[in-house]
């Protein structure tokens, strides 16, 4: 139902914003939802991205069709990454690096492998793919992104991918017709709350023609929101309430199970 609505919505948007007479293609995108609500039964979600390439009579013919890349990135966060090594027989954390202001969520979706869409330096300029995403590390007093082969960088990407928070999907975008496409953005349950940006780039003949951005938000609602607000704004009260809850539970059990 939601998806049908989204298609309709995309069509309306398409009709309303289609430029009158521009030679180059336009790009119109729409998300199935602008807000992902986390309640107590939340186990993850999926957002569907719909897009349409707008053309008119003056638009040049594209012999090899269109390519689309969508980059979804979540709120920025800083993470401390630790590396273990053997030291006098035991495994301990010996080295650490801080990743500064990196996306907490990153999905790079395309309709075919990135290297078939554009040349490496264009992909690098547009920051398409894990290899071209800037992951700033703090190494001593310096802030810099490092070479792709850096073991810390690779470990970081591996760990984030295992949690489902980073993904590269060269087949994540599907063309429904030569100018209409859709993509599914998976939102794992552990995705952090905050605003997410969606950047959609349109390619043809190895060059980027146009791009557009959209956004959605993940937020906690209802009881989940109440608990988080209470914990953050009224820490002492929250703690005392939790202890009271513990004592009540303990007392209740001892009354119920009283045998004598």
């Amino acid at each position: 139902m939601n998806r049908i609505l989204s298609i309709v919505w995309a069509m309306i948007l398409f009709a309303a914003t289609a430029p009158a007479a521009i030679a180059a293609e336009g790009l119109v995108v729409s998300l199935s939802t602008q807000r992902v609500l986390i309640n107590s039964v939340f186990t993850g979600a999926e957002i569907v991205l719909f897009g349409a390439v707008t053309r008119d009579g003056t638009t040049p013919e594209r012999r090899f069709g269109y390519d689309v890349v969508a980059v979804v990135s979540g709120p920025r966060e800083s993470l401390l990454t630790l590396r273990k090594d053997r030291l006098v027989g035991i495994w301990v954390n010996v080295e650490s690096r801080t990743f500064v202001d990196v996306p907490s969520y990153l999905a790079v979706l395309a309709n075919r492998p990135f290297d078939q869409i554009a040349k490496p330096d264009l992909l690098r300029r547009l920051k398409v793919g894990f290899d071209n995403t800037i992951l700033t590390q703090r190494i001593g007093p310096d802030y810099a992104d490092v070479v792709r082969e850096d073991p810390f960088r690779q470990a970081f990407l591996r760990l984030q991918s295992e949690r489902g928070l980073y993904l590269e999907e060269p087949t994540g975008v599907t063309f429904l017709s030569p100018t209409l496409f859709r993509a599914t953005i998976p939102i794992p349950a552990e995705s952090p709350v905050g605003s997410y940006s969606v950047e959609v780039m349109l390619f043809a003949d190895g060059a980027m023609i146009t791009r557009t951005t959209s956004a959605f938000e993940i937020l906690k609602v209802g009881f989940e929101r109440f608990v988080v607000t209470a914990a953050h704004d009224y820490g002492l009260l929250y703690g005392l309430a939790t202890v009271a809850m513990a004592l009540m539970t303990g007392w209740f059990a001892s009354v119920i199970f009283r045998r004598d």
């Binding site: 107590s40 966060e77 760990l159």
Partner: protein
């Protein structure tokens, strides 16, 4: 049935968590220990971040030790005076422990110290308990009279001044070793994030010679107070107590603790000590394996700021 935890930021199966509470509660009721050294690793295993796990477990332990303490209180198997004296020392120890905790974190070696302490503490406490209880059981097999109280020549501790009579424990000892034991438990608890029941129980039995049945109830009172304090401190300082997770664990925990306490009362005390000794040794071994065997993933990370 999945439920989303608001502070831990992940969905968990409510029945799995409930079962975890139930089984750890059973063990804690049976041996008079908090069970934090079992529950914290279990929570981390299902995906809860270590910080949230430690903070939340404290409230779970408060609940199960309160229900256990009530049961022992009704059976008069609890020495309140001894518990208060231990707590007096415990406060000093906790303050010292928190100071060392901060210091170790600043020099970046906290995790190593925690892991090593677990191995050494659990390993030695477990080994002592196992050998002692096996010896007691062998003596019992031979038909020799087992005198747990072991009167006669007291150990060095009984020669110290400021003697106090603890009626419930049928003890007349100096308060100095009681304070020292309390301070030690508080100190270890603050550094390792555990109630310290599994160390307190053997210390009271072997050093002070408190009767086993009184030890468990007394240890529960101590655990209750320290864990309730820890919950409030964790909630105010870093907002990491997940009340929803805590509630599921608690309900399972208190039910388990009731059955565990009953099972513990019916069991012979040397057998109880053997079981606890084995359990403690096993967890110690688990930590040792983590230290000595090459981990599958050498890298790990933790959130510093932003995002959530």
């Amino acid at each position: 049935m999945e439920i989303y935890l608001p502070i831990a930021d992940l969905p968990v199966n409510i029945f799995v968590v409930f079962a975890m509470g139930l089984s750890v509660g059973f063990i804690s009721g049976m041996f008079g220990i908090g069970g934090g050294f079992l529950m914290t690793p279990l929570l981390i295993f299902i995906g809860v971040s270590p910080a949230v796990a430690v903070a939340t477990v404290s409230s779970h332990i408060a609940a199960s030790s309160f229900s256990g303490a009530l049961l022992y209180w009704r059976r008069r198997a609890l020495d309140l005076a001894l518990a208060i004296m231990l707590l007096a020392g415990g406060l000093v120890g906790t303050a010292l422990g928190v100071w060392l905790f901060t210091f170790l974190r600043d020099i970046g070696q906290l995790n190593l110290v925690i892991a090593l302490s677990y191995v050494i503490l659990l390993g030695s406490v477990g080994a002592v308990m196992v050998t002692e209880s096996v010896r007691a059981m062998v003596r019992l097999q031979r038909g020799a009279s087992v005198d747990v109280r072991r009167p006669g020549p007291h150990n060095l501790l009984h020669g110290l001044p400021i003697k106090v009579r603890f009626k419930e424990s049928r003890l007349y000892v100096s308060v100095i070793p009681v304070w020292v034991i309390g301070a030690t438990i508080g100190f270890i608890g603050a550094i390792l994030g555990i109630g310290g029941g599994f160390i307190l129980v053997p210390l009271l039995i072997y050093l002070l010679r408190v009767p086993t049945n009184v030890v468990i109830g007394t240890s529960m009172v101590l655990t209750l107070v320290t864990m309730a304090t820890a919950t409030v401190l964790h909630a105010t300082t870093n907002q990491l107590v997940d009340a929803v997770l805590a509630l599921i664990l608690m309900v399972g925990g208190v039910i388990g603790a009731q059955f565990g306490a009953q099972a513990g009362q019916e069991m012979r005390s040397e057998r109880l000590r053997l079981l606890l000794g084995l359990l403690v040794s096993l967890v110690g071994l688990r930590f040792a394996i983590d230290l000595f065997v090459m981990p599958g993933e050498l890298y790990s990370f933790r959130l510093l700021e932003g995002g959530r």
